[in-house]
Symmetry: C2
Subunit: 236 residues, 2 copies
DNA sequence: ATCATAAACTGATAAATGTCAGTTTTTAGT
DNA sequence: ACTAAAAACTGACATTTATCAGTTTATGAT
C-alpha cells in the first residue's frame, strides 16, 4: 500500500531512507510504507521548539531536513547541549521507550521539516521486527557509549581541550565545505553550551586558536586551517 | 528443564530474580531456566578486573553479589567512574548489543560473584521475547537519560555541588545502615573519580561538610547527618 | 596484633576559568 | 538597504580548583 497522504508537502520516507544511518533501514517495504502513511509532517522555522523537557510526548520525530539541537536546562536556565539531530536522525524515542517525560528540549537551529510518528507504531515495529529492534538498541547503545565518553571528557579535560574536541565533533557531524568551513552556524553561546563553559571563555579561546593559525573566523563561520593541530590539543 | 549445573557453588537465577530491578523478570520460566543452565559463575576478590576497556567481550555478566565499579581511563590514566553494579545488575551488555569493544573497565570493589552469559543467549532472548527486548531497551534508555543528566551536572555545577550530589546518589544506590552510615566504602580517590576532580579537593570539601555538620567521617565511613542540607548544596 | 604500604591529610602556590561591566560588531527581520 | 536587537568582544578582577611536596594516619594482608 502506498500512502495516499504522500504529496509535495509530505516528503516520503524514501528520501530519508537513502541516508546511511537511517534507523528504518531494516523495515520491510510494507512496514516502511505503513510508517510513511501514518506519519505527520511539519515545517519548523529556526528557533521553534519541537518538544520541551519535562513534557510528555506520545510519539517521536524523524528529521527530514534541517538541524535540531537537543539540550537540558541546568542551573540558572543555562543550556547544556547534549546532541544535534540532522536528516535521518530520530529524536524523542527515548521518552517513548522508557515511558518517561522528555529529558531534553529540542529546538530548531536550521529551518527543518520533521515527521511525527506515533509511539504505538514504534512499539509495534519492535515486536514485529527483531532486526529493527536490534537496530534501535544499537543506536541507543551507541548514544550511551558516546555519553560515557563525553562524561569522561568534561570531567578530565580542560576547557581548551574540550573546545578543540567540539570543533572536531562538529566537523565530523556536519562536514566542511570546499573552503574547509564548518557547515553549521552556532553562536558562541551555543558553543559554550556544548563545551560546558562561559561564553567569554569560548570567545577568548577561539581567538587564541585563530592566533595560533589553527582556525580562521568570519562571524559565525569557522574555517579549519590545521586539523592535526586541533587533534593534538584535544588529545586525539 | 532444571539445570543440572545448579549446586551450592553456582547460585540459581531465582535468587537474583527477587531483586526488583532484575532485567530477567519478563522471561518465561523456561527461558529463565535456559539462562540459568547456560551460565557460568565465578567469584572475584576485591580489586579483580572482570573485563577491560578496549577488549572484546562475547557475553555479559550479571552481578549475583558484591559491588563492581565501571570506569573509563582518561588522561594520564585517571579513572572516571561511570557507574556501579550491584546484585541483579548486568554489565557488558552494551558491548554485546552494539558489537563494539568494551568502553569501560569493570573492577570489583566488594568481593563479588558474577554469572557470565553468552552474547548469543541475549540475542536469542531479544528475538524470542519482545517484552524482554522492551525491558532491555528501557534499561538502556534509563541509563542514557542518567548519563545526560550527569553531563549537565558536570558541565554546570561546581565541585562542591557535585560532591554533595554524589553522596546523595550513593545513599540512594547503596542505602544507609541504622546509624545513617553509607553502606559502601570508597577511597577519597574513588570519590574524586566519580565527581571528576582532584583527590585533595574531595578531602578538603568533605572536611568542610563535616565542619558544617552535614556529615561525620570515620575513616572511609561516611555518616549522613543533614540530608536536606546536602540536597540544598547539590541543588535538589 | 603487627607492620609495611597505601591512603588521608595539610599548607602553600599556581593556573584556569568565571564574572561583571562596558564597547563594538554582526545578525536577522522589515 | 536599514535598523533595532542580539551577539561578539575586551579588560579587570575574583574565585575556584589543581598541583606539589611533605606529614600523619588508616588499612589490610600476614
Amino acid at each position: 500500500m502506498v500512502g495516499i497522504k504522500n504529496n509535495q508537502s509530505i516528503p516520503s520516507c524514501e528520501e530519508c531512507h537513502a541516508t546511511d544511518h537511517m534507523i528504518f533501514k531494516d523495515l520491510t517495504p510494507e512496514q516502511l510504507d505503513n510508517v510513511n502513511y501514518d506519519k505527520g509532517c511539519s515545517f519548523y522555522k529556526r528557533g521553534n521548539i519541537i518538544f520541551q523537557e519535562g513534557h510528555r510526548i506520545n510519539g517521536f520525530y524523524c528529521v527530514h531536513s534541517g538541524i535540531v539541537k537537543m539540550y537540558k536546562t541546568g542551573i540558572d536556565g543555562k543550556e547544556q547541549i547534549i546532541r544535534f539531530a540532522k536528516k535521518g536522525d530520530i529524536i524523542g524515542y527515548r521518552s517513548v521507550l522508557s515511558n518517561e517525560l522528555a529529558c531534553t528540549t529540542s529546538r530548531v537551529i536550521e529551518d527543518a521539516t520533521l515527521c511525527y510518528i506515533q509511539g504505538d507504531t514504534l512499539i509495534t515495529l519492535i515486536k514485529e521486527n527483531p532486526a529493527f529492534a536490534m537496530q534501535l538498541m544499537q543506536l541507543t547503545c551507541k548514544e550511551l557509549g558516546e555519553a560515557n565518553n563525553y562524561i569522561t571528557d568534561i570531567a578530565q579535560k580542560t576547557v581548551r581541550e574540550r573546545l578543540a574536541e567540539i570543533l572536531l565533533l562538529l566537523k565530523d557531524t556536519f562536514d566542511l565545505d570546499e573552503n574547509q568551513v564548518l557547515q553549521i552556524s552556532l553562536t558562541r553561546e551555543e558553543l559554550a553550551n556544548m563545551v560546558g563553559t562561559a561564553t567569554e571563555s569560548v570567545i577568548r579561546l577561539l581567538s587564541e586558536f585563530k592566533q595560533d593559525k589553527l582556525i580562521e573566523l568570519q562571524g559565525r563561520k569557522i574555517k579549519i586551517l590545521n586539523l592535526p593541530g586541533l587533534k593534538k590539543i584535544a588529545n586525539f
